[in-house]
Symmetry: C4
Subunit: 279 residues, 4 copies
């Protein structure tokens, strides 16, 4: 998921204008293109989701199948247009969004050649991947860019955090297995007990698996209370990175020539410390 | 929900004083008006809520119906008073709070003309919208103003975030549908599976729908662990905005004598706009 | 819960030393007194809690009752000692902690005069209030003082927040009542529906009450997603206040005489901007 | 869990190089050693976890037992190698990670001498403690070091916080016991009621124990809403410490030529300790 749009065609190329509309949103036509695409994605996702509801099939099945074909043709046209205007076609086709674009239209076409098997049904569901395009659009918006930038900066810390959490739930799941497995069929093996530890530590708490023995409940209490503090880590990481990212936008990165002060408001004309004119 | 009260009548108008009492709370009478209103809103909301409890009807039904009429008459007087003192009546009547004021008294009057049908019952419930007036009062309080201001500043980022979350739960719901639908009637269609993904990602975890297959549980584990990090985003946004908002209050509230710039760092010695020495 | 200990006896009074041991913890004897008290509180709380377990009564009932009498006598001696060394007895007796001290020993004595009725059983439970003494000790610790100070600073904002949340859950509970009440006996009245809205918004999600209709589930999805952002508010408030509180401890609040710079590290001897010696 | 590796052998010792590979990761061989170890730990943890699944035993039991022996031998070699290269063997053997290393290989050897009793089964599970080695590796990574450092700084505040939470849930559990115990067998004793209060306050919300009376539900509502604010405390602590830790990395890493002070603000022009001009 590269944050940058693919390379534009050479300057002077007639496709330059089309590329701008399709990949950027700094023109009226570009913004309109994005808005229409967003509506189409939302509508097609809704139709694919509703097609899976058995109760709706008798009455709306045909209508939904037809709507789906309309969406498929429109997205095919869009995919062809994208391939036509980028400089390096193969590179786009093998990029994350190029892959999503293809995978979300293919199932409809494969349905013509194959009989309606179960695997095709699953394949169809991949059309829902279209929803990932929302992230492509999100990058156009400044707010989305700030959020993505903060999440990218947090990535390494959160990976280390998630690996540590995996270690913690393994140990916790093992201990609850030792305490409960003899008295509670829900904790019959370790993977299941680790699953319970994840459900508890993340405070999801389905309640499908719960401890019944007194030591098991005490262990659960310890997990829940430590989970309180553990859940604070990713929040702290994202908050710190987001604060830094937001401060960067507001601050003018200029050093005063006479006193060396380098922290100024984005709108400052004079150094706030010595009063000298800023460059 | 505009943060500003509606326009007052022209200066010299006798209604100016009444307007101040009703819409502001910078006088003793105004604060008393607000306090009485808050108690009335709380009491009327309680009565409407308790009227829906079937067990209380035989003994308290009549008393509650009478109390409801008292509240309706008081709120009607208040609505008429508000309309009477604002400069542009139509504008107030069509504003958010004007609409809430009307909708919360109408059901009682409609009940006279229509028979006691089911729709009327639902209509009655709209009287509970009176509770929204709390927000009108919240804006009077400094603390409320800071919170609202921070939430308003976070609005765009949180919208982008919620749209992204919708995309994420759609994909997650689809995958769990592929993994579970054959073995678990609870995941019989995609919308239901997306509902489960929302319940899981937000850590609500009712437990009415839970995965039963091993791949389904592994998928759930992944969703729960990533949800850990995703939930950190709105917290980070609100914390950063709130910190900024609270810092603004602490900032040096001094106006530059030569250029009029009035937003300076607490430590600034010179105006950051024109460079003049600050007083 | 005043953050300050009660007034000491006049200087020269022999009770001055005892007062220091009992109410402060800046001497070895004072710290020992606190440690012993903490262990006694923990042990007595454990005994009262275990006395309620019917399975333990036949074998351990008598032992626990005896232990309870030992604790009661020790806490009575402590209460008398506290009253003896403070300057204004009535003021201490009517303070929060004076009240807790009394209420937690009274039930045992009342049990002598009254027969063992159900009300006495409940009264006994009040001995568990001894656990509140932990907060009295928490104030002695620097870390506890910083946390309490941040929570005190957040108090007003969090009150405004909780009142707003009450308004939100009332409206949400009402809407889910309209959508579900006809099809789902769990949403049979509005207070119950508001209870469900609280369970959902706070992400507790017991699962004892869940929506069954499609519009009900859509409403639940909206509540869960908005709850995501709402839960961020108290976290943001506490984080911002805590950061401010922690920064206050580290920063030296001194203004440089030659350049006016007033933000220095706690260990700085010279102004970090102009190099002049700090006062 | 000391953040520092154990003491290396004396300079010039041939074991110096091996020590560097095993305990540090600043060489290619050291990083390779860490990577291989991480894969081995993950694989062995997976095998131990899967061995507890009864359904897999008939077909995969023998294969898993053999794989487990391979892992045991490899980890034994590693343990011997670690003991061989450190300067003080006893000190390493009694350290946290030395203990984990031993405890995770012992069960396999004990299995030879003892019959396959239930206790041995539990003993085997201790092999899962190998997963703790992940933390040993985490310290090698900068990101992990920052997180651990922030958590270490938060330790005291979070301990005070957890003790306070224990006091709060004790009181809350007691009150719900008074309100519910007569009508709801789920709240039959105080420890169970405290367990429920923990499940509710941490927003885990299994739903295996829920209040059924109206006062009980009102109490639950109060607990959930206050839990909203309480959960904000550890997040605030970790965020504040993490922000400080991350700021430390950004600080100007310059040493004053005249006094040697090396901790300066990024904007400092003069040494804040002796006042000399910084380079």
């Amino acid at each position: 998921m590269s944050p940058h749009p693919p390379e534009p065609p050479a300057v002077g190329d007639r496709r330059q204008r089309l590329w701008r509309i399709i990949f950027l949103s700094d023109t009226t036509a570009g913004r309109l293109f994005d808005a229409v695409l967003l509506v189409l994605v939302a509508a097609s996702v809704l139709v694919v989701a509703l097609e899976s509801v058995a109760e709706l099939q008798p009455r709306w099945g045909l209508t939904m199948a037809r709507a789906e074909w309309v969406f498929t043709i429109l997205f095919t046209l869009e995919y062809v247009a994208r391939l036509a205007v980028v400089r390096r076609r193969w590179r786009y086709a093998t990029s994350f969004f190029g892959f999503v674009d293809l995978v979300s239209i293919l199932p409809s076409y494969l349905g013509i050649f194959f009989a309606d098997t179960h695997y095709l049904l699953i394949l169809r569901v991949f059309r829902l991947l279209r929803v990932f395009r929302v992230f492509k659009l999100a990058e156009h918006v400044t707010e989305g860019a700030v959020l993505l930038s903060a999440l990218r900066a947090s990535r390494n810390k959160i990976t280390v955090f998630l690996v540590s959490v995996l270690a913690v739930v393994t140990v916790e799941g093992t201990f609850i297995y030792i305490l409960e497995s003899e008295h509670n069929p829900r904790f019959s093996n370790i993977p299941q007990s680790i699953y319970w530890a994840v459900v508890t530590l993340t405070t999801v708490g389905y309640g499908d698996i719960t401890p019944v023995t007194v030591p098991g409940k005490m262990m659960a209490t310890v997990i829940m209370l430590t989970g309180f503090s553990i859940i604070a880590v990713p929040t702290g990481v994202v908050t710190a990175e987001l604060g830094r990212e937001m401060a960067r936008v507001r601050r003018r990165d200029v050093r005063c020539a006479s006193c060396g002060w380098d922290e100024h408001d984005a709108r400052a004309l004079h150094c706030q410390h010595c009063g000298a004119r800023l460059p």
